[in-house]
Amino acid sequence: MLKIPWNYSKKEGSFFPCPGQQSPNKIVHWLFVGHYWVQLCFYCVFQAPAYHLILEGILILWIIRLLFSKTYKLQERSDLTEKVTESLLRNGSQNHLSLQYQRSTLPPTHKIVVNGNECINFASFNFLGLLDNEKVKNVALASLKKYGVGTCGPRGFYGTFDVHLELEDRIAKFMRTEEAIIYSYGFATIASAIPAYSKRGDLVFVDEAACFAIQKGLQASRSNIKYFKHNDMDDLERLLKEQEFEDQKNPRKARVTRRFLFVEGLYMNTGSICPLPELVKLKYKYKVRIFLEESLSFGVLGEHGRGVTEHFGVNIDDIDLISANMENALASIGGFCCGRSFVIDHQRLSGQGYCFSASLPPMLASAAIEALNIMEDDPDIFRKLSQKCQQIHLALHGISGLKVVGESFSPAFHLQLTRSRGSRENDVKLLQEIVDYCQNRGIALTQARYLDKEEKFLPSPRIIVNIFCIWYSASLSASQNFIVK
């Protein structure tokens, strides 16, 4: 504490050298006042601790610096006028592996000509072999003759054809849901559906292995995203519980925050299946809506090819929205969402990819209808497909250096290196050598392509093996041998 010699009294707001004594001269008066203050300062300085003085000293220096220095350097400013813009493209794109596209010349059915070699196709997602189906082709051809090629407009503006309505109806019936909506591009389906419902401030729980389309949809929705470990229900429940705890703190906010859970039927990135029954339990326990992406499992799993819901025997009404693309099993183009009318109908005004894009060419819609017909007429193909999957899966087990990842009933599974070669580039290179080796011997394989910089959780490099149900067993065993080598 400072002791101030308070021997001057305060009178009428000013100091006087002596009580009662009035100075006739104002200058003398102010001199006295100034003298007093200087004295006071010196007194304080000698009394104050050292750190205090140092701190104040630095502060004073800093103020002086601020007063005299310029806020910016002149040279830096002149840089801006002659701004060096970065190239539009990122560096290092020249030697990218992806630039060397495979060039296929024959239709990509079970046989394919890649870079001049005729191969058995293990690389397309044409699981049911419907791409090459004569019936489908003929129906598409008839549609082409009637409607021409394009639709020349979005659905709202004379781009709705009677075949679109029929296809929506058929998909809804096939999946046993109230309503279905079709998009003209598979990728845009789930990527448009997500932001139609989930908005800024809403909460989204997503599996780490979710495919790129889901990631992009989430990014467009600007919701709060929480990732749980791949297929780890405990981790998901932990997140949900945390959220429940948060909600109790702020119940008013919780009442308007929508919650969604995004999962895939068969994961594109891992080949594994989602534990749907547990997810449905969690749905009702924590009141989250489940959106299910079934691009790989639709037309594959289940007795009638209705996907994971049928596979697990889950009531389809428990899933709020199912989305799938028609580019894999149905061998057409586009995608669909199906579910209850309460949910689906909203997309007809809010699904951006639906409202603002030209509609699906009618011939492709007709092709999809015919593919659905075939699936309904002959549910045996799903059993056959599953058998073939298990056969190949078994055969590929135990190759030294490669491990098989994915469910044994999944028609798309992955081959990974058991031991990494140090870096991602080396792994990719080795896998590419394997792919090339097989290709030269008549087996078309492909590496799963990822954009390294864009993926949230980058999957490790892998080869995708896709199974068709129409392969002949002879060619099968031959191919097994090759891959094994």
């Binding site: 701004k83 060096v84 813009t85 970065e86 539009l88 493209l89 794109s93 596209y101 495979q102 010349t105 239709p107 990509p108 890649v114 397309s124 044409n126 791409l131 082709k137 051809l141 003759k145 021409g148 090629v149 394009g150 639709t151 020349c152 407009g153 659905r155 503006f157 004379y158 781009g159 709705t160 591009y185 990728f187 845009a188 790129f212 992009k216 990014q219 467009a220 308007v256 919650r259 009702y284 009141k287 809506r289 693309n325 580019e327 057409s332 183009i333 209850r340 007809r348 951006q352 990819g353 409202c355 603002f356 894009s357 492709l364 492909t446 590496q447 392509r449 990822y450 954009l451 864009e454």
Partner: protein, 543 residues
């Protein structure tokens, strides 16, 4: 229907003088830049008399009031609610929709819903057949009567060059490819979906546009929203026109860069933003922006205006920005040989960094392309989201594009392509001129085949579309939120396939309708009963 102007909050600046009969000449830095333009560049955005917006707001007010009244009645069970309900088991979930989101749909859109999504059952050519549908519950559900409304004149499809057709000889190569390859592809470009057909299309597009390289994608919408993120990222700046299409806005948003919006086709506004960006750099850090990209469209589909490309190219060079030009509506539709706005203005294609376009409109197919320097396209082959994750274009569609491109370029040995381009131009001028003479307010450039006719009031939108359909003319009407709230409009898309008789019929009906609905708001000099005469010598073309 939903918000097309996601990032425009309201009207354009009225003080900029872009309206009210103002014929905008090209200007740069406040000075006329007429030497940039090789020909007369005329765009009009006439303002209606003051009572029109006042009445329009009143109209919306009344409908909204009734909406609240009916919602009240529905809530108390006096009126049956037709909307789909939430499942019983999930009643205690957080509601999926906020109530005000659906208010518009329930109370305004439902009244006029029959004017959109009309199903058709033929080629979307100059005329089409509509599936007749009726409603028994005021548009909540539709019932198909099984009858077909034949030969409706199609003024709505983007069939600019008339390639939506089903002549068997034209479709023969497409059919052959379809039988050979099947309908789909079942793989992505980077994996196994790179077919020889795609390479053929890309070669032709390259040749057509006069660029170094091109790449095709399976969907036009996705071309924008999956490629802009590959080019731009954090620390980059995107300058976007306020009326840009949703796909461009979505792409810009997905890229994570900063987005700033300039007034529609307003070069002063763009230059101000560019100058600001160069001088100030990024917010807070004041580091220079990594790159600046200007996003514009060739023809704006709701306004019918053409982008002021020469000025933008000048600005882009001055401020070292990049230019992304979306030619969705303009490719094939403008330019002496159909090569889009680049050719229309005589701009060097090398000055446009990214040329994007779709095959959906003029070409009558589906899909999109990106063209430009070889490095750009090579880069996109490696890093485009579409190439890595989305299915490539179906081979039959690719074959159709090859055929139409060859036809437009005259490589098939005929002059059909050139004739169609000429015919489209004639139709455009003819139609626009007559509408203007009749006293309608129409927006946009005199050379743009997209013709918006302003209706303003919400009540007139429904009445117009229904009465036009009664006269066997299919039109597109657009209202809020796709347009500003007072500027509901009908939009006509002209086609080279429209014959003289069709256009005359449409114009006659429009004249009657304009008198009946009192939508002839224009205060420009007019001819109350213009003679419908098609004079070949009347038009001068510089082909």
């Amino acid at each position: 229907m939903a918000s097309r102007r996601a990032h425009s909050s309201g009207d354009r600046d009225k003080s900029s003088g872009l309206r009210n009969g103002y014929s905008r000449g090209p200007r740069l830095n406040g000075k006329p830049a007429s030497d940039l333009y090789k020909k007369h560049f005329y765009e009009s955005f006439e303002q209606p008399p003051l009572y029109v917006p006042v009445l329009t707001y009143m109209g919306y007010g009344i409908v909204t009031l009734f909406g609240y009244l009916r919602d009240f009645l529905r809530a108390w069970g006096f009126e049956k609610c037709h909307a789909a309900q939430e499942r019983k088991e999930q009643k205690d979930f957080v509601p999926l929709y906020q109530d005000f989101e659906n208010f518009y749909k329930r109370n305004l859109y439902m009244r006029v819903r029959d004017n959109w999504n009309r199903p058709i059952c033929s080629v979307p050519g100059p005329t089409f057949d509509l599936v007749e549908r009726v409603t028994d519950d005021y548009n909540w559900t539709f019932r198909y009567t099984g009858r077909i409304i034949k030969d409706v004149i199609n003024m709505g499809s983007y069939n600019y060059l008339g390639f939506a057709e089903n002549h068997s000889e034209f479709l023969k190569p497409v059919a052959e490819v379809m039988m050979e390859y099947g309908s789909g592809v079942c793989s992505t470009r980077q994996e196994m979906g790179n077919l020889d057909k795609h390479i053929e299309v890309e070669k032709l597009v390259t040749q057509f546009l006069g660029v170094e390289a091109a790449m095709t994608f399976g969907m036009g919408f996705a071309t924008n929203c999956m490629n802009i993120p590959a080019l731009m990222g954090k620390g980059c700046l995107i300058l976007s026109d306020e009326l840009n299409h949703t796909s461009l806005i979505l792409g810009a948003r997905l890229s994570g860069s900063t987005i700033r919006v300039f007034k529609h086709n307003n070069m002063q506004s763009l230059e101000k933003l560019l100058r600001d960006a160069v001088v100030n750099g990024q917010p807070r850090t004041h580091r220079p922006w990594k790159k600046i990209l200007i996003l514009v469209e060739g023809i704006y589909s709701m306004e019918g205006s053409i982008v002021c490309l020469p000025e933008i190219v000048l600005l882009k060079k001055k401020y070292k920005a990049y230019l992304y030009l979306d030619e969705a509506h303009s490719i094939g539709a403008v330019g002496p040989t159909g090569r889009g706005v680049v050719e229309y203005f005589g701009v060097d294609p090398a000055d446009i960094d990214v040329m994007m376009g779709t095959f959906t409109k003029s070409f009558g197919a589906i899909g999109g392309y990106i063209a430009g320097k070889k490095e750009l396209v090579d880069y996109l082959r490696g890093y485009s989201h579409s190439a890595a994750y989305a299915t490539s274009m179906p081979p039959a569609i690719a074959e159709h594009i090859v055929r139409t491109l060859k036809c437009i370029m005259g490589l098939d040995g005929t002059t059909i392509g050139a004739e169609r381009i000429r015919k489209l131009k004639e139709n455009t001028r003819y139609f626009r001129q007559h509408l203007q003479q009749m006293g309608f307010i129409i927006y946009g450039n005199e050379d743009s085949p997209v013709v918006p006719l302003l209706l303003y009031m919400p009540g007139k939108v429904g009445a117009f579309a229904r009465r036009m359909l009664k006269k066997n003319i299919g039109v597109v009407v657009v209202g809020f939120p796709a347009t500003p709230i007072v500027e509901s409009r009908a939009r006509f898309c002209l086609s080279a396939a429209h014959t003289q008789e069709m256009l005359d019929r449409v114009l006659t009906v429009l004249n009657e309708m304009g008198n009946f609905l009192r939508v002839k708001y224009s205060r420009k000099p007019r001819n109350s009963c213009p003679e419908l005469k098609y004079d070949e010598n009347y038009f001068e073309f510089d082909i």
